[in-house]
Every structure is written in C-alpha cells, then in structure tokens.
C-alpha cells in the first residue's frame, strides 16, 4: 500500500498540510457523511473532520497506513456521534417514494432500478444492522475503501471487516431477493 504522505512535501505539523488534505479529500469525505447523515449535516461536519484530524495529528503514523483511511476513520467517529440523525434519515427513507430514491448513472441502471424498488426495505434492513456493520458497509459503498483500508480506518482486523461485510450483504440480499430483477432467486 503506497503511503500517500510521501508525495506531500509538507510536515504533519504544518497547518498547510491540512489545507492540502482538505483540497484533496473534502469532496470524498463530504459524500461519505452526506450519504449517512444528509447533505446539511455534511456541510457542517466535513470541516470538523479535518479539524479533528489536525488535533489528532500526533496519532497519525505514516508508517502504519495511508491518509485516506485515517480520515475516513475520523469521519466515521464523527458520524457515530450523530447516530440518532442517521436513524432518522434511514427511517425517512423507509417512507420514501420510488422516484425520490436515487439519481444514479445510466451504466448502473439495474442497480438503480433495484435500489428504487427496494429502497424502503433496504433502508429498513440497514437500520437493523449493528453500528459496526453499518460502518463497514458505508465505508465500502460510499467511501470505496478496500478491506484493508476499512480495517485501517476502524482499527480492526481485515478478517473482521470481511465477516461484518458478509453479514451486512446477507441481510441486504434477503430484502433484495424478491425485487432485484438482476438476481434469479
């Protein structure tokens, strides 16, 4: 795994480094938080993630991992402080009509149709997952992190990532089974 800091010629203690990090990752972190808590919250909390990162910069060890999972780990902690609003958001999604469900890209039509049809069920299933399973699921789906990166972000073994993700997927498959046109059973 490449250590991204090596490409940044700035010291970890340099505030400039955090504006560089912000410019590079703010949009990704915003997307992750917005997906879990909604856009309004993401507008406020994205900068918080970088400020927390700055305060905790001593805990970042470039030898142990990359910047990206470190930031996503902090973002996940920030999200967990707003667990209630995540719950509210998921409950609102239970009730959402199919047209509102998503605005995906053409190349994911099958996934979009499935998401639209299954939206409320899916939200209910995700709400039924444990916090730990939800973290793994959203870091993978919204952050696009690999097993290894999720493990770094959450400070757990990558085997644990695998088992949590598998359980999450199993739950989702259960509710998608009946409505997913791309799936036979």
């Amino acid at each position: 795994m490449p250590v991204e800091t090596e490409t940044l010629p700035l010291s970890r203690d340099d505030p400039e480094w955090f504006t560089v990090l912000y410019d590079r990752y703010a949009e990704d972190i915003h997307r992750y938080i917005a997906g879990r808590l909604g856009r309004e919250s993401a507008d406020d909390l994205t900068a918080d993630v970088f400020l927390v990162a700055f305060r905790k910069r001593a805990t970042f060890d470039p030898a142990r991992g990359a910047v990206k999972p470190w930031l996503y780990g902090i973002a996940t902690k920030v999200v967990s402080r707003h667990r209630r609003s995540e719950g509210r958001r998921l409950k609102a999604l239970f009730r959402m009509s199919a047209e509102d469900a998503t605005d995906g890209h053409e190349d994911h039509v099958a996934a979009r149709v499935a998401a639209q049809r299954a939206g409320p069920e899916l939200a209910r299933a995700i709400n039924g997952l444990s916090q730990a399973e939800r973290d793994v699921l959203f870091l993978t789906a919204l952050g696009g992190l690999s097993y290894q990166e999720v493990a770094e972000a959450l400070g757990i073994a990558s085997g644990t990532v695998g088992s949590r993700l598998n359980r999450a997927k199993r739950e989702l498959r259960r509710v998608l089974g009946g409505v997913n046109p791309a799936k036979e059973n």
């Binding site: 507008d43 469900a101 994911h108 996934a111 997927k169």
Partner: protein
C-alpha cells in the same frame, strides 16, 4: 459486490457546491492556524517581526515574498482577494458603532468617472438625509436643501440599506445565503448564486454610505472571502485615487483603499458581452416593432476591459444637519 453497488446508488448525494467547500476550507485554515502559531512562535520570533498585526489574521506576508523560510512555512495560503477582504474585515471591526436616526444626515465627498460627461472625471460633495427625503449641496457658498421628495424604495436609502445590512446573520454560510436572496435588489447580470451574493453585497455597501455595524460589516467581508474565484484588479482608478477592485465574472467591482482596506465604492468594467435584448412587448405596431429592433442594433457594448464607470466616496461622515462636515 452487487448489494454494495445498490447501497452506493441509493445513498450517494450530489456533490457539495464550491462555496460550501470554500466555507469549510476557511474554517480549516482558521482552526489549524491558531494552534501552530503558538507552537511556532518561540522558534523564529527573533528574526521575523510577528507583531500583533500579523497575529490577528492570516494576511501575514504571503506574496510579498523574500522573507525566507519561516514565513512560507507558517503562513496559510490566502488568495490575493482573501488578503484584501481579511484586511477589510479587520478595518471594519475597528470602526465606531453608530446609531443613525432617520433625521440625521450623511456628508460625503465623491469622485467619479463617467465617459458620457463632458469632464470624464468629476468631483462632488453633498449631504443626504438618511431617510433620503432631502439632500443638500453647497452652491456659491450657501447650503441649498432640496426636497422633501418621495424617497423611493427603502433599500436604496442610506438608512434603509444600513438597516438591511444590520439585519444580516454573521455566520459566513448564512450570510451568503441571505445575500443571495435580497428582495428589491436586482443584479440582472449575475449568473450564479455566488455572483448574486457578491453583486448584492456590492449594491448594499454602495447604498449605505455609513456601511453597517462593525460586526456585520467584517462578517460580510469574511463571508465574501469564502467565495471561490474572486478576481483582484489593482490597476489605478481613472479618478486618480488608489483603489483595489474585487469582482466575480458578472459583477461590478467592489473598491477598497489598498492601504487601509476601507470600502471606497464601485467600478463597472465591460465584459464585452452583448446582452440579449428582451423580446419586444406584445402588441407593437409594425413601425414600432421595427424601431424597437433598430434601437437594439444601435446598442454597442464596449470592448471587454473598458472602464464604464467608477464611483468612490472618499469621505463619509454622519452629521446632524446639512452644512456640518
């Protein structure tokens, strides 16, 4: 990974707007700077005169260059526009708080440029009642008061604009949202929400010779500082006063004194874009319609970069009656 893809589809929100990201960036810059300066101070306090002035806001000496490694290490990169606006915010904070009343007057000196006048550059001094019902000027040594008259829309009166500004929220994102939505002001060229906020800010500042309560005025400048893409025009003003102008693509320039960062006025520079003429009103006779179309053909937009007009208030004072200065 199909379940993952479906979750991604369902939960992905649209990208944040540039101004949201810029507000966050400003917070990160502010939040990270304070701490490190304290840590760094003993390090190089000897060589660099990091006095109280530099310690308040991040202007420091970015861009003026040549002051060696310590400055470039500690300074946050502010754009040239942010430097001007940070300076303007500090200047605004230092102004006295006013409590203007409708029956009071504002005395002002104005320098303007207008190519349609016989003398392109003109100077003027006068008084205006804060409710805009009367104004006054000095004619052959005597103070002549004009009015009373209908003051027109409130947001174009000195006190109306002052009050509109005074009511703005000071949190940057809320400030920008409020500036975007200003009833009664019509920046018709503004192309985007950011441009609308900037244009409305310029208009309110011009309409209010007394500015705004110091807290609001400095918050307004800081909020503008979070907008991406502000251009800085340092060319000397046609009226002969030094001025630095800030603008977004389809807005007027807001002018500041380059030394004190005091607000000065507004400048219009042509963008060279021929505006689309509105459709002729319905029901015109054939002759009138033809006249309408020809009028359009005669209308020429000056080439891009041409100065269209410039107005600077070089002195403004709250007084109790006309004649006072």
């Amino acid at each position: 990974m199909e379940e993952i893809e479906i979750v991604k589809q369902m939960f992905t929100e649209p990208k944040p707007s540039p101004s949201v990201l810029a507000v966050g960036r400003e917070r990160v810059v502010r939040g990270t700077r304070g701490r490190t300066r304290r840590r760094a101070a003993p390090f190089w306090a000897a060589g660099v005169a990091l006095g109280a002035a530099a310690a308040t806001v991040a202007v420091v000496t970015v861009g003026s260059g040549g002051s060696g490694a310590p400055t470039t290490r500690s300074a946050i990169r502010l754009s040239a526009a942010q430097e001007v606006l940070a300076g303007a915010a500090r200047n605004a904070e230092r102004q006295a708080a006013l409590n203007p009343q409708p029956s009071q007057w504002v005395y002002y000196r104005l320098v303007g440029y207008d190519p349609k006048r016989q003398d392109h550059v003109y100077k003027y001094e006068g008084w205006e009642r804060l409710d805009a019902r009367q104004d006054a000027s000095r004619i052959e040594g005597r103070i002549v008061v004009h009015g009373p008259r209908n003051p027109g829309p409130e947001v174009y009166t000195p006190l109306g604009a002052w009050r509109r500004l005074a009511g703005l929220p000071t949190e940057p994102r809320k400030m920008l949202a409020a500036l975007r939505d200003q009833p009664g002001l019509s920046p018709d060229d503004a192309d985007s929400p950011d441009e609308r906020a900037f244009a409305n800010a310029g208009e309110l500042l011009w309409n209010s010779p007394l500015g705004a309560p110091p807290k609001v005025q400095s918050a307004l400048y800081r909020a503008l500082g979070t907008l991406p893409g502000i251009r800085v025009d340092k060319s000397p003003d046609a009226v002969g006063e030094p001025a630095v102008g800030l603008s977004l693509p389809h807005t007027q320039e807001i002018l500041f004194d380059p030394r004190t960062y005091q607000y000065l006025g507004a400048r219009v520079v042509s963008d060279g874009v021929q505006k689309k003429r509105p459709q002729p009103p319905a029901g015109l006779s054939a002759t009138k319609r033809k006249a309408w179309e020809q009028q359009g053909a005669n209308y020429r937009v000056p080439p891009a970069g041409t100065l269209v007009s410039s107005q600077l208030r070089t002195l403004v004072k709250l007084v109790d009656k006309p004649g006072n200065r």
